[in-house]
């Protein structure tokens, strides 16, 4: 429950901090409604739609609505998938409004000491420190390799956790040893004709838990004719913080990343995680109030490209023979890659060009799978409802391989496969891993 004092404070901060012109820009036509997963999944409840949420934000800002837990829940239940933005004829920047509103609510949230410590642990002490990410991942690797994981599963230890956490544990990829992560070089030379110099945004999770996918990405870039550098001192993109109302922390991370990549002098900055790229591409917006950073942020943003977009730009699919054993594949969009980066044709074009593969478009591939950053942990019920519906759609495609372009989506698809009891029949892969497989097969 919010106290009267907190309510007043929230209202005041909405008035001071919310972008009122942007709130007014929503003319309430409702064109966003069919695109909103939570509106659909809550049986068309307006307060769980973008139009409804904007009205709630505006209500608080106007002072006609007192903030309460219900309103906070409406905003919490938003996936932040931003599918409402490309369909909005007025061009409302919903994501920015949501971020600002969540930032205010988070700041004023009364939290138990335990949650506070946990949040501090995750947001301040873990994700911004790549070496700690490596340690944690290293521990996970030890857990997996030592056979402890098997023992834990056998004695039912994981059953003590919420259902999706327990399933989640099963689907985590086998992570590399810490020493392997540490020893990877920071420069890789192009193969064939040189076409570009690129810097890889390695990502905190991608470079630990999905280390092999990063390696695949680097190899693809080399084959496409790129010199690849992995700039030192780069950190987590800050998306997790930004989406959880920890904007100040995101800004710190953004500045460090901008600095880290300036020295690389690359033509492009490449990511292979839709969630990160969408946050990175808005660094200029994030730092809009800091004049000394805006131009540097713009430089950074201009160079940013997803792996599939750079491969298409460099004609990779035409210069390499891509082949896989016969199979049906489908593609689940990463919401942020699609709705913010506007990259959705490129991955499909790459998959289409693989010989031996039948590509079947999944109905609703452009809607969120329920992963949405840490959404499946903080809103497990809605996340699982969305995921189960997604898996029904996936089943209609008869695909043996579900391809994704973001670690969160990848884990979510694996979770969905496990929940649908399709393990062994259907697999989920990152597009970079699949493409590398196809290059190797195609030789």
């Amino acid at each position: 429950m919010m106290t009267a004092q907190i309510k007043q404070k929230i209202q005041k901060e909405f008035k001071e901090e919310m972008d009122y012109d942007e709130l007014l820009n929503c003319m309430r036509c409702g064109f966003c409604l069919p695109s909103c997963p939570t509106y659909i999944e809550t049986d068309r409840q307006e307060k769980y739609s973008p139009r409804g949420r904007i009205a709630l934000m505006k209500g608080i800002t106007d002072g006609v609505l007192e903030p309460d837990d219900d309103i906070a829940h409406s905003l919490d239940l938003c996936l932040g998938c931003r599918a409402c933005e490309p369909v909005c004829p007025s061009g409302v920047q919903y994501g920015h409004l949501l971020e600002d509103a969540r930032n205010i609510l988070q700041r004023n949230k009364k939290q138990t000491v335990r949650v506070k410590l946990l949040r501090k642990g995750i947001f301040d002490e873990l994700f911004p420190h790549q070496e700690r990410m490596e340690t944690v991942t290293g521990l996970l690797g030890f857990y997996q390799r030592s056979g402890l994981s098997k023992v834990a599963r056998k004695i039912g230890f994981m059953n003590l956790f919420p259902e999706n956490m327990a399933t989640m544990e099963k689907i985590l990829p086998d992570v590399p040893k810490r020493s392997v992560m540490k020893e990877r070089p920071r420069f890789f030379e192009h193969e064939g004709d040189k076409k570009a110099t690129v810097a890889l945004f390695a990502g905190c999770l991608m470079d630990t838990m999905f280390f092999e996918t990063n390696n695949a990405t680097i190899k693809l870039l080399q084959k496409a004719g790129c010199d690849v550098t992995i700039p030192e001192h780069q950190l987590c993109c800050g998306a997790l913080h930004g989406h959880n109302g920890e904007l100040e922390k995101s800004k710190e991370l953004a500045k460090q990343n901008i600095e880290a990549f300036e020295s690389a002098e690359a033509d492009y900055i490449i990511t292979n995680a839709g969630g990160c790229s969408a946050f990175l591409i808005e660094y200029d917006h994030l730092l809009k109030d800091e004049p000394e950073w805006v131009d540097r942020a713009k430089q950074f943003v201009r160079k940013l490209k997803d792996i599939s977009a750079i491969l298409i730009a460099l004609n990779f699919q035409k210069t390499h023979h891509l082949r896989l054993p016969n199979q049906t594949i489908t593609y689940q969009d990463s919401c942020h890659l699609r709705n913010v980066m506007k990259t959705f044709n490129e991955p499909r074009a790459l998959l289409h060009s693989i010989e031996g593969v039948q590509f079947v478009e999944m109905e609703g591939a452009d809607t969120c799978c329920g992963s949405a950053g840490d959404y499946n942990i903080v809103q497990p019920d809605m996340a699982m409802q969305i995921l189960d519906h997604k898996m029904e759609k996936a089943e209609h495609t008869h695909a043996q391989t579900i391809v994704t372009a973001n670690p969160g989506c990848l884990l979510e698809m694996k979770l969905g496969i496990e929940r649908a009891k399709k393990t062994g029949q259907v697999r989920a892969v990152h597009i970079a891993d699949l493409l590398l497989e196809a290059v190797d097969e195609g030789i």
Partner: protein
Amino acid sequence: MPSSKSEKQLSTIKEKLVAIMGQENVDDTMSGRLAYSYDATPNFQALPDFVVSPRTAEEVAAVLKLCSDTSTPLYTRGSGTNLCADTCPIKGGVVLLMKHLDKILELDKENLTITVQPGTITKTITDRVEQEGLFYPPDPSSMKISTIGGNLGENSGGLRGLKYGVTKDYVMALQIALPNGELIRTGGKLTKDVAGYDLTHLFVGSEGTLGVITEATLKLIPKPESQKTILALYQDIEAAGRSVSSIIAHKMIPVTLEFLDQDTLKAVEDFAHIGLPTDVKAILLIVQDGPKEIVDRDIHRMAELCREEHAVDVRLAASDAEAEELATARRSALSALARLKPTTILEDATVPRSEIATMVRAIAEVAKKYKVRISTFGHAGDGNLHPTCLTDARDKEEMERVEAAFAEIFEKAIELGGTLTGEHGVGVTKAPYLEWKLGHAGIEVMKGIKQSIDPNGIMNPGKVFSEQSKQRMVMMK
């Protein structure tokens, strides 16, 4: 404002609502109420006391009876996309959602009808019947979002109105819940039926002021076998208007004959990125459908007529996909214009199509006279234009000029033999002007009908009938 009922009265009403449809279908949280305090009409917002979601026609009827007995205002709502504040609960009370009543009940391929519940999304119906080679033509721009119940209540039009008519032309039978708690059925799957007053068409377009449609049987036609789209480009907006009149005068009835001015083109292109020409003053978007030879002949002839009226270019859409992109882009026009200014006020004045060029010119003159920015797009072929004022509701002085400008546009439309609203409805926004069109005696007839069906005045109060009519302006000729 919420209704003036006491806490005690409200809690009694709530108990009864819960008894009708269960706790989970009665929402009186602040967030729930605020989320249904508006529709797509700018500057209208009011909190309801309850938001309820009945699951059956019988539950709808029970809610109506309860509201009638307790004199509680009631507003039926589909997706809340309407543009005349018809779904805004301006006097508090109950917002009645149709979201549970969203089933297609029957597709009758022998009688070519479809029977649906009111909460069904319009496009769901369109897509379903097209799978069977059938066609439901009414296509309001919000068809992806709007419900058929809303279309029926507003008698919605759309881009295909010119050739195929509007919602009312496709309604054969209705089930209606009345304020006295009765459910009645009107019409049938019949081409001919003169048994009694035509109650079906009394309720279509009644804007939720008489009863609640709980089921509708719609007429379907065979899907046309082919379709072609052209764009005619103009550097003179009146020339575009003249082309419209010329096409009609030459006995050509295209499916779609849409007008978009330069402001609208720019805003739409900014959103859709489909390569619309933004360096011309206006375009006409023309669609014809039917057997291929006839479509080819008509399209060729209409292109010629446009060139005769000084179209600077006429382009043919290369594929069905491109044609669909153009139609979809056109449907986004209003919302796209909203990106230009904080407040977008759109009107719906309609004139006989022979007067379209005169009307286009009159709108431009009014905009100049009152120093307001008006962009115009619309269904030029059926004389239904949407002059849209781009303004800022926070600027009181400008808003006064906007209102005066629109009053003059209404006046001009009526003078030319037209009407205040072609397809958006009267609602709150045009209620003060309705008498200009219907006259005092006409309004009295409507009041009599309203009184006999809804004696307690619970159905969408404050809409259609105005407490105070506007004085008609004397125009300088």
